[in-house]
């Protein structure tokens, strides 16, 4: 037991040592793109109708008039202290954007990931178990078509069917205006906030608003899981220990459910981490489609207003989230599966 502890710790340290250069590279890349690349961030944020004195004043306030190297050092320093700057257009600290809109994104992506994993594992297991049958073909076909489906088109279809034709579910925003006005923001995750107060009518309203966006995003991502689980089931079914289990006379049903499926699911944890990038990209599109007030939605808002400072701050946060998540997932899978550590 003790030796396992040490090797996990050393794995953690190696993994952490690899993360730092990655973060640094990403931060430097963002800096190069947003500050060094041609174009004047400040005047384009302001639309070019502002007196030069004002532009100078803002430049000075944001530190954009200093030499590039100083700017770079300040930028790294601030980022390390989790200060991602202030937006130019509405003077909101980026941390505030993250707190409020990030909560909405978290609600959406968590629900979507849950749906993706549930649908993906189920269809993948069934397809792999019944390889080359009609079920398998159907699941694979679904996997390919759902992969080819842009999130926003699936969202369009969902809005058309469930919002407009059937009229069952709301198609935009995170809650009805009334619920939104009455909500007491604590975590900013509406589902949690309404549940904490015990306002179940509001909870139900928030939940209804979540169904379409989360399902849309979840289904699109489920394609990857279907493929992965299917391949893994097929591979484990060929493994020696499955053969051994059969030889020992264990019923085929138990061989499949107890031995093959369990081992086929281990890599899924790792892949959830790899899908973070896909999930966040999908979230930006889903939020735009359903007018969901998440980070992606704010990012597009600031992009449209050419607010370089806001865009830079949000992108940095995205980079940190991605690196952090992949680190966490790697550690979790290392804890689950000792083979990864070596």
């Amino acid at each position: 037991m003790a030796s396992q502890g040490t090797s996990l710790k050393s794995y953690l340290l190696t993994r952490l040592a690899l993360v730092l250069p990655m973060v640094w590279i990403l931060l430097t890349m963002v800096f190069l793109l947003m500050r060094v690349a041609p174009g004047d961030p400040i005047s384009s944020s302001l639309g070019g109708h502002v007196p030069p004195a004002v532009v100078q004043e803002i430049k000075h306030r944001l530190g954009y008039d200093k030499p590039l190297l100083t700017q770079y050092a300040n930028y790294l320093w601030d980022t390390v202290h989790l200060d991602f700057g202030t937006t130019i257009t509405d003077r909101r600290p980026v941390t505030d954007v993250i707190k409020v809109n990030g909560a909405a994104t978290l609600e959406l992506t968590a629900a979507a990931m849950f749906i993706a994993v549930a649908v993906g594992i189920f269809l993948g297991l069934v397809a792999g178990r019944f390889r080359d049958t009609a079920i398998d073909m159907g699941a694979r076909f679904f996997g390919i078509v759902i992969y080819a489906m842009p999130v926003f088109f699936l969202g369009f279809l969902a809005q058309l069917l469930f919002g407009s034709i059937l009229g069952w579910l709301p198609t935009s925003d995170q809650a009805s205006p009334i619920t939104e006005a009455l909500i007491v923001p604590k975590t900013n995750i509406y589902l949690v906030d309404t549940a904490l107060v015990g306002d179940w009518a509001a909870f139900w309203d928030v939940f209804k608003h979540l169904i379409l966006p989360a399902t849309t995003l979840g289904l699109v991502i489920s394609g990857i899981f279907i493929r992965l689980v299917r391949v893994n089931v097929i591979r484990t079914m060929k493994d020696d220990y499955i053969e051994a289990a059969r030889a020992r006379g264990i019923a085929e049903r138990n061989v499949v459910y107890r031995h093959a499926f369990r081992n086929a699911l281990v890599p899924v944890v790792t892949v959830i981490g790899l899908q973070m990038a896909l999930l966040l990209s999908g979230a930006v599109l889903t939020e735009e489609t359903f007018n969901w007030p998440g980070i992606g939605h704010s990012l597009i808002f600031y992009l449209d207003n050419r607010d370089y400072a806001a865009v830079q701050g949000i992108i940095v946060v995205f980079a940190l989230i991605v690196v952090g998540m992949s680190l966490i997932i790697d550690l979790v899978s290392a804890a689950i599966d000792p083979r990864i550590r070596y």
Partner: protein
């Protein structure tokens, strides 16, 4: 004569090598064959539409009147407008057909750019190893970990502020996303090829690194590229459509683009108008499905580990590390 014969002899191995590379496609059986054919058909259809758009399309993509009569706004699909009209009175079907042109144009350019940068970088990095390799891998891995769409959006945003929107800007924004993928696949393959006896033999004979890379390494590595390129083309279409949807694709007045059309159609959906969004959306799904099937079919037929022939196979057990490639990128 002698020269011609010698030239013939020199050309022959190239040809036979080519034939050997294509041979598995004829051998494809079962699912792989079905995938290949469906994929080829779907992709072919859109390539046809793209090339013959002016002939096939009933109107121009931005045409809102004919013979001085303005088309109806948001007209239902009818014999006059098979897929209806948009809020700007343009013909949906014409926009879908011209859209094929746009998508293929941008994606083709993005692929060429991505291959031209990613493959040589991968070959050089894999062959020379050392600090250069480690540095490049780190940069590419960081790029790869980053949400691809955000990267494309930021590049497209910066380009739209400096160069302006256009086919080339969109292609660059997409390319940046895919370079790391080509780089990775090619580099990893080069590393395994580098230790092969024939490469070592060439090195022992005194061939310069550049010659070895060009003549021995490149051709062995490049065989994987069609599969990745096709699958990436599918992905690139989705990225372009996403950029268009968010308003960072092409200038709407210059080109018809499916993603942009779907974004315009979102507001129609609430009033039950389905045709403005359904058809461009379906076009995306069909083209991406076609390219994916083509890529997957190629993968299953070319990749010997996944290949299934009718001949009864001898069970030797499959090395698990290679089977993983079945998951694809």
């Amino acid at each position: 004569m002698a020269i011609a014969a010698a030239r013939e002899a020199r050309r022959k191995p190239r040809l036979s090598r080519l034939r050997r590379a294509v041979a598995p496609i004829g051998d494809a059986r079962g699912t792989a064959r079905l995938m290949l054919w469906t994929g080829t058909l779907l992709t072919g259809l859109f390539i046809f539409l793209a090339f013959f758009a002016p002939v096939v399309s009933p109107y121009n993509f931005d045409q809102f009147q004919a013979n001085g009569v303005r088309f109806d706004q948001l007209a239902h699909p009818s014999s006059e407008h098979l897929m209806g009209t948009t809020v700007q009175s343009t013909d949906v079907m014409s926009r879908v057909i011209y859209g094929a042109q746009t998508e293929l144009e941008v994606v083709f350019m993005a692929l060429i750019l991505g291959l031209a940068i990613g493959v040589p970088l991968g070959v050089i990095s894999g062959y020379f190893a050392g600090p250069l390799d480690r540095g490049l891998v780190l940069v590419m891995d960081s790029l790869f970990a980053f949400p691809y769409l955000l990267l494309a959006i930021v590049i497209a945003f910066l380009l739209s502020n400096t160069v302006g929107k256009g086919v080339f800007s969109a292609a660059i924004a997409i390319t940046v996303v895919y370079i790391p993928q080509y780089f990775r696949v090619v580099r990893n393959h080069v590393i395994s090829v580098r230790e092969e006896p024939y490469v070592e033999a060439a090195r022992a004979l005194g061939a310069r690194p550049f010659t070895i890379m060009r003549r021995y390494v490149f051709f062995n590595v490049v065989q994987n590229v069609p599969v990745i390129a096709t699958l990436n083309a599918a992905d690139a279409i989705l990225t372009l459509a996403a950029l268009g949807f968010l308003g960072y694709g092409l200038q709407p007045t210059d080109k018809a683009e499916w993603g942009y059309d779907v974004s315009r159609a979102l507001s129609d959906a609430s009033s039950g108008i389905w045709w403005t969004g359904l058809f461009p959306g379906l076009a995306i799904v069909l083209l991406v499905t076609g390219l994916t099937l083509l890529g997957e079919g190629l993968n299953e037929t070319i990749n010997p580990v996944l290949r299934r022939r009718r001949v009864e196979k001898v069970e030797l057990g499959t090395p698990t590390s290679i089977v993983e490639s079945e998951v694809g990128p």
